[in-house]
C-alpha cells in the first residue's frame, strides 16, 4: 500500500517536472526550436519503453496541467492530446512490428499530426458556433509543422542515446503486434 502511494507521488512529481520543462523550454529556446513538444517526447519514449495503457493517463494528467498555460478554450488541448496518445498506443500495439528508431520517428510524427488534426478540427467547430472569435490558421499550421519536425528529431536523439546504454531500445519485435499471433 505504502509502495503504491509512493509510486503515485513519484509519478505526480515527474509529471510536474515534465510540464515545467515543457513550458520552460518554450520560453528559453529560440523560435522555431521552442515549438518542440517535450510532453509528447516523454510520452512517446515511455510508450516505446513500457508499451502500457497507463501512458494514456500520464498524457491526460500532464495535459491537464498544460491547460493552465494556454488561451485555447478549456479542454481543446486536453481532448486532442489524450485521444492522439490513445490512438498512438493502439497503433503501436497492433501495427508496429518492431521497436526501432524508424518506428519511433513515424510514431512521433503520426501522434503529433493526429493531435494537431484534432486541435484544428475542434477549433474549426468552435469557430462555426462562434465560441472563438478568431483562429490564426496559418500560425497553427506553421507551429504544427515545426512541432512535428523538432519533436521527431528530439525523440530520435533520445532513442539513439537510450539504445546505446540500454538493451530495451535495441531493435526488436514488438511483442504485442499482430505478428505475435501469426507466430502462434
Amino acid at each position: 500500500m505504502l509502495n503504491r502511494i509512493l509510486k503515485i507521488l513519484l509519478i505526480f512529481l515527474a509529471l510536474v517536472l515534465v510540464v515545467a520543462f515543457h513550458v520552460g523550454f518554450s520560453y528559453l529556446l529560440p523560435y522555431p526550436i521552442s515549438k518542440v513538444n517535450i510532453i509528447f517526447t516523454v510520452i512517446i519514449l515511455l510508450l516505446l519503453w513500457y508499451n502500457s495503457g497507463i501512458i494514456v493517463w500520464i498524457s491526460f494528467f500532464s495535459n491537464l496541467f498544460i491547460e493552465l498555460f494556454t488561451v485555447s478554450p478549456y479542454g481543446v488541448v486536453l481532448f486532442s492530446s489524450t485521444i492522439s496518445v490513445l490512438i498512438a498506443y493502439w497503433l503501436y500495439q497492433n501495427f508496429f512490428t518492431n521497436r526501432s528508431i524508424y518506428a519511433a520517428l513515424v510514431l512521433t510524427a503520426f501522434t503529433i499530426f493526429i493531435y494537431r488534426l484534432f486541435y484544428i478540427v475542434i477549433m474549426f467547430i468552435l469557430k462555426i458556433f462562434s465560441m472563438v472569435s478568431y483562429v490564426p490558421w496559418k500560425l497553427i499550421f506553421i507551429t504544427s509543422l515545426w512541432e512535428i519536425l523538432f519533436t521527431t528529431i528530439l525523440v530520435s536523439i533520445f532513442y539513439f542515446i537510450f539504445s546505446v546504454f540500454t538493451k530495451k531500445f535495441k531493435s526488436s519485435v514488438v511483442e504485442s503486434s499482430i505478428f505475435r499471433y501469426e507466430r502462434k
Binding site: A20, I66, V71, L78, Y134, L139
Partner: protein, 266 residues
C-alpha cells in the same frame, strides 16, 4: 474497432467531458490553483532566465557598434532635454489655463502591481500570465501598463490568483487609439503582424508622419485616454483606399516584460 476499444475510447472521452464540465462549473478551481502554486516557481524562474538570456544576446558586436550607440544616446539626450524644457513650459501653461477654467481634476487611476510569471504556450495568441487575479480586484478587459503609462494589453482571463493579458501585438487585440498630430487622428491599433502593430482606419485626408506618437483615445470602455502605445514607423497610403494605415513600433519590448500595472479604476 473492437468492442473493448470502443468502450475504452468512450470512457476516456466521458472522463475528459466530466473534467471540462467541472472546470466550467468551477469545481476544479481549488485543484487548479494548487497545481498552479506548485508549478509557479519553476515556470517563473524559467521565464526570468529566458528574459535575461535574450537581453544578453543584445550586447554590442564590436567597438564601432558601441561608439555608434553612445553617440546616438548623446544625441537623444540633447533632444530629450530640449523636449523636457518645452514640456515644462507647456505644463505650466496648462496648469494656468486649468485654473482659469476651474477645471476639476479627475481622481487618480487605481492600479494593481503584478509580476509576469509566464507566457502562453499555444499558437493561439501572444499573452502573458500575471501573478495577481480576481482576489486583487482585477477584472476582464482591464488595461495593463508598464512604467508611467505605456499600454501593453488588456486582461482576457481572470482566475483567483492569476490572470492573462492579451498583448497589443496579438492577433485578436484591438485598441481604440489616437495620434498626437495636428488632426488628432483616431483609429484602431491592431496586432497580428509579428513584433510590430498597425493602426488602421485612419481617414485618408489626415496628415500622419513617421515619428508621430500613438496613444489610447479613450473612446473604448475601460481604457483611459493618453496611454502611450508606440511610435509610427511607416505609413501605408493607397489612393483608392478610404483609410490609411500606419505601422507602429511598440514603446516597450513586449518580449521582455517583468512587472506590470493593471488599471482597475480610473
Amino acid at each position: 474497432m473492437s468492442k473493448r476499444k470502443q468502450q475504452t475510447f468512450l470512457g476516456i472521452v466521458f472522463i475528459i467531458l466530466i473534467f471540462i464540465i467541472l472546470h466550467f462549473v468551477g469545481l476544479l478551481r481549488p485543484i487548479e490553483n494548487y497545481f498552479r502554486a506548485i508549478i509557479k516557481p519553476g515556470i517563473e524562474g524559467m521565464y526570468d532566465i529566458s528574459i535575461n538570456f535574450n537581453e544578453q544576446n543584445e550586447l554590442f558586436k564590436n567597438v564601432e557598434d558601441l561608439k555608434e550607440a553612445y553617440l546616438s544616446c548623446l544625441e537623444n539626450d540633447i533632444n530629450n532635454k530640449i523636449d523636457m524644457a518645452a514640456f515644462q513650459i507647456l505644463k505650466q501653461e496648462n496648469e494656468e489655463l486649468k485654473k482659469q477654467l476651474n477645471y476639476i481634476e479627475k481622481k487618480d487611476m487605481l492600479t494593481v502591481g503584478a509580476k509576469v510569471i509566464g507566457k502562453n504556450i499555444d499558437p493561439l495568441g501572444n499573452t502573458l500570465i500575471l501573478d495577481r487575479g480576481s482576489n486583487s480586484g482585477i477584472t476582464k478587459n482591464n488595461p495593463v501598463i508598464v512604467g508611467e503609462g505605456v499600454m501593453i494589453g488588456k486582461i482576457v482571463r481572470v482566475e483567483d490568483k492569476t490572470s492573462v493579458v492579451r498583448l497589443i501585438n496579438d492577433n485578436q487585440s484591438k485598441v481604440a487609439s489616437a495620434l498626437i498630430n495636428q488632426s488628432k487622428s483616431i483609429g484602431v491599433v491592431e496586432g497580428g503582424y509579428g513584433i510590430s502593430i498597425r493602426m488602421n482606419y485612419i481617414p485618408q485626408n489626415e496628415i500622419i508622419k513617421v515619428g508621430d506618437m500613438v496613444i489610447t483615445s479613450g473612446l473604448e470602455e475601460n481604457v483611459p485616454s493618453g496611454l502611450l502605445i508606440g511610435v509610427i514607423e511607416a505609413v501605408e497610403k493607397e489612393a483608392y483606399q478610404p483609410f490609411q494605415k500606419a505601422v507602429i513600433t511598440p514603446s516597450v519590448d513586449l518580449t521582455k516584460i517583468k512587472q506590470v500595472l493593471v488599471i482597475t479604476e480610473f
